[in-house]
Amino acid sequence: MSSDKRITLQQAAEIVKNGSSLTFSGFTIWRRPFAVIFELIRQQRKNLHLIEVNGGPQTEFLVGAGCVDIWESCWVGHELYGKYGANLSRKVGEKEILVEDYSHAEMLFRFTAAASGAPYAVTQTSLGTDIHNPEYDVLGRAGKRDGKRIAKHKYIFTEDPFYGAGAQILIPAAKVDVAILCVQQVGEEGTVRVNGQLYSDPEVARAADITIVMAEEIVPEEYLRRNADQNTIATFEVDHILECPFGAHPTGMFGKYDVDGAFLKEFYAGTRTQEGYDAFAKEWIFGLDHIGYLEKLGWPRMLNLRANTALNYRPRK
């Protein structure tokens, strides 16, 4: 039973089909499953529907590569290393992608609803903004709201009938086909232990129909089960596992390595145009596998990102 769930990077990417809806672990520039993202780009996946609590470099890489048709989220950028999502921005301008905007809390509550099997959530956030402008229902305008994987409505206005608390927004659960997580440890049977901030990983794993966990290391289940209250996700929520050291690079991983800011800056600066993106992808994605990518990055660069075990990050001095 211990190796049932193991797959390879190639297989992980193959689970995501053309047209799949997809989401990820992590937060902006932290713990994004880049090794699988790169593999999806190599396999030239098309028509993806990304539903993300928040976006980041992984969005930009997939969007730039032309893998994505629909992006539902609230934010994309590279934090300190790139002000906004230049690839998404370009594709929006060229109408090559549909963007459905929610607020950050709305996206989180949409995943929380899905994770607990509720068809929708109720919230009071973002009242009075253009996020709720009925004219700006992009998926509705595009005729995509079939009520199956994409809800019939972007949101619904209502009032609290219990305590007279006033206006409420109902937002649909986020239904996603596949979640790909990138974490520190997974057990042989699928138990996940995330160290540091959990971001929205527990909700995302439970919301998706298929959950793939890529970890820095696969550890004996028994090791994780010694401290069940420190684990984050239970075995049966995880369908597939794979070990892939440095799989989150260029994003960072608590306790393991910091964000490769220089890499992100170079990506941001170099991919404002499609030509720039294509050149970057040619250099860093195509023709490489994960080991080839690490070798190209080289030891000095990676050692320089290494987190200090006592601190869980790389101290600046």
Binding site: G26, F27, T28, I29, W30, V53, C74, W75, V76, G77, E79, L80, Y84, G85, L88, S89, V92, G93, V99, D101, S103, H104, A105, L108, F109, T112, Q124, T125, S126, L127, G128, T129, D130, I131, H132, N133, P134, E135, Y136, V138, R141, D160, G164, A165, G166, A167, Q197, L198, Y199, S200, E203, M253, F254, D258, V259, G261, N312, Y313, P315, R316
Partner: protein, 272 residues
């Protein structure tokens, strides 16, 4: 030696950081965004508000990072926190009403404090797509007060923002879209709204009755008339309280020697 630094000893970022820091009161629960606000809050923690509680949106509660995080998801956020978990906790706590103050930014702002971080031009045919909302509207909806830090350019202080990402004092009531006072729309979830805008020109506040922005203090060297000229909407300059206080030497020490020695967010101005 004076408590306050002289003009050649500080830069505009220092001034903004200190002005932002002074918006924090002791014992408050503060929701921190990435960048300059993070430095401002940690500066308040080192100076007049030692008991403030810092929440990072990515899921760290009552954080005390020993080294400046570069974003709210940073591994540095977790060190010394009361609890580290995730977004569900952070947003649940915020919606529950624990948060006193949030710091935010924006690309455009209008007279009512409505802020845009989503796009420039028509939303459905944008000239420029920006980052999107992030937690801007959420923090602004849930917190008791919010402070915006912005670059002051006439194209940013506009009559109508391209897209209301984050709600000000008068907001759109859907489905019609007519402007109403925030209080009317938010019901019992109403806890306040934008309380200050700290721009590169001055500090602005809001009349909570009519929801209009007014000029509170001008940054050193700026006049009310100049600042009024930097707004496309009609700015009320009748209530100006004076000049924005410059950074103190102690504040500059904390910013540059303790919090951000690597000048990640705040460049150091060389003394004349």
């Amino acid at each position: 030696m004076s408590l306050y630094a002289s003009p050649e000893e500080y830069g505009l970022a220092d001034l903004l950081c200190c002005a932002a820091s002074r918006e924090v009161q002791d014992n408050e629960i503060v929701f921190a965004g990435t960048g300059l606000p993070m430095v401002a809050i940690m500066l308040a923690q080192k100076t007049h508000a030692p008991n403030l509680k810092l929440i990072f949106e990515a899921g760290t509660l009552d954080g005390r990072p020993p080294e400046l995080p570069t974003s709210v998801g940073d591994a540095r956020c977790e060190s010394g926190a009361s609890r580290s978990s995730g977004l569900f906790d952070a947003f649940s706590i915020a919606q529950r009403g624990y948060v006193d103050l949030g710091f935010l930014g924006g690309a455009e702002i209008d007279l009512y404090g409505n802020v845009n971080t989503t796009c420039i031009g028509d939303y459905l045919n944008p000239e420029l797509r920006l980052t999107g909302s992030g937690g801007n509207p959420d923090i602004n909806s849930f917190a008791g007060r919010t402070v915006f830090i912005m670059v002051h350019e006439k194209r940013r202080f506009v009559e109508n923002v391209s897209y209301i990402t984050s709600p000000g004092w008068r907001v759109k009531k859907w489905p019609g879209g007519e402007f109403v006072h925030r209080k009317e729309l938010y019901g019992s979830a109403f806890r306040g709204g934008p309380s200050a805008v700290i721009s590169t020109a001055g500090v602005f506040r809001f009349d909570e009755q009519d929801g209009h922005m007014y000029l509170d203090t001008c940054h050193p060297g700026k006049t009310p008339a100049e600042i009024k000229e930097l707004c496309q909407f009609e700015l009320d300059i009748s209530r100006v309280a004076g000049e924005t206080s410059p950074p103190t030497r102690e504040e500059l020490h904390f910013i540059h020697d303790v919090l951000d020695p690597d000048q990640i967010f705040i460049p150091k101005v060389k003394k004349a």
